[in-house]
Homo-oligomer: 226 residues x 2
């Protein structure tokens, strides 16, 4: 059975969970306390980060894969039955650009400032959240939601005509922030409509059932009609 080493509120891990589910690939989740720096885990990923995927159902060899962008490209190459980076090289570049936007800029400007400060710091015993960081995150999220709205006015899905890695990367981040109730959906109708479409996919259901010990999500988190 494939194993995904993960953390519950890691957007990078959630992206891989969504990809695996969209491609209909069975897998088992193992929570990895990265901060313990387990030597067996370090041997799999010297960067000591989740996600790490162990794919023992690959055609030729058991594959041990680290880094969510790398894992996404690997899954696309080995399991192309259901494509998530599709189209011409230019169309594929656009899907990858948007995925990198959410995993890079959005992560730095929003996710780390909100999920990082409010949840991860507590989990890691790194002290209280910085109110300055939280303020920045709450402010930055608006222009990213506007950008999603802008894209949705022009396209069916973020990256083009089809649901793609771009939607999964974006929704993975937003789902983490939604878990702590910090997405101002009501001020961003277009982004909300897009998120409702992603959220209603079967691949999303397991994420909506996630519950972290000690912090329950708001009622609308799992509601498809939020």
């Amino acid at each position: 059975m494939r194993i995904l080493y993960h953390q519950w509120l890691s957007p990078f891990c959630r992206k891989i969970r969504l990809i695996l589910a969209e491609k209909d690939l069975a897998f088992e989740l193992k929570e990895e306390r990265v901060w313990d720096r387990r030597s067996d885990f370090l041997a799999m990923n010297p960067a000591c980060q989740v996600p790490v995927l162990v794919d023992d159902e690959a055609p030729n060899e058991t594959a041990v894969l680290a880094d969510s962008t790398v894992i996404a490209e690997y899954l696309e190459e080995v399991y192309p039955q259901r494509l998530l980076i599709m189209g011409s090289p230019v169309e594929r570049a656009e899907i990858r650009r948007l995925s990198a936007w959410f995993d890079g800029k959005f992560d730095e400007e929003v996710t780390r400032n909100l999920v990082g400060e409010k949840l991860m710091k507590r989990l890691l015993g790194l002290g209280g959240p910085s109110s300055e960081a939280i303020r920045a995150g709450l402010s930055n999220i608006h222009y990213h939601l506007d950008y999603i709205g802008y894209l949705c006015e022009r396209r069916t899905w973020l990256g083009g005509d089809h649901l793609s890695l771009a939607d999964l990367a974006a929704a993975a981040h937003l789902s983490c922030i939604d878990y702590i109730g910090n997405v101002p959906w009501d001020e961003h109708g277009d982004a909300k409509e897009w998120y409702a479409r992603v959220k209603s996919r079967p691949s999303f259901r397991p994420l909506l059932a996630d519950r972290m010990a000690g912090s329950a999500p708001p009622a609308h988190y799992a509601d498809l009609d939020f």
Copy 2:
């Protein structure tokens, strides 16, 4: 003619310059002062970062591409004559993992602390360098050079049997740090031997000729026999 919008000491831009040269694709460099936030540049890349590649020699359409990882994948798809991400899906994943290692971890732990503090801050008028950041960068670089040495003991090139994107990504970062004279080559013989091999490639020559106004590199920077 292809145009690469770039900054001289950006490791991400240098990586693309190396890829283009290895693939023997002609291009013109245009320096982009990203901090001016030019509206025509923002239209090409809303993230307002270099590198951006305009490929008007692509088979079907002029392509405007942002983000160095995205550009690397695009070039690999459109110009596969000389591959830089080669082999089985697992071998390709290893090359991508190492590229992500240098563009992610190395960048955060070393490049930003050294090139960012010493050169970019001055360029952007952001005040003096933080001595704490510089100390961290000078300390962190050792374990990364050890990692390069570890890989070279086991493989011909960082990612496997062939020169690949992994070598170009790593060398692009190290070349920026070498420009400011902060790579302790003499303490890391294996890494030095590997860098000498990359440095002697024709694709590397243009980088060794770079000179930033107001800061000359040390004498060994352009010396193949350093």
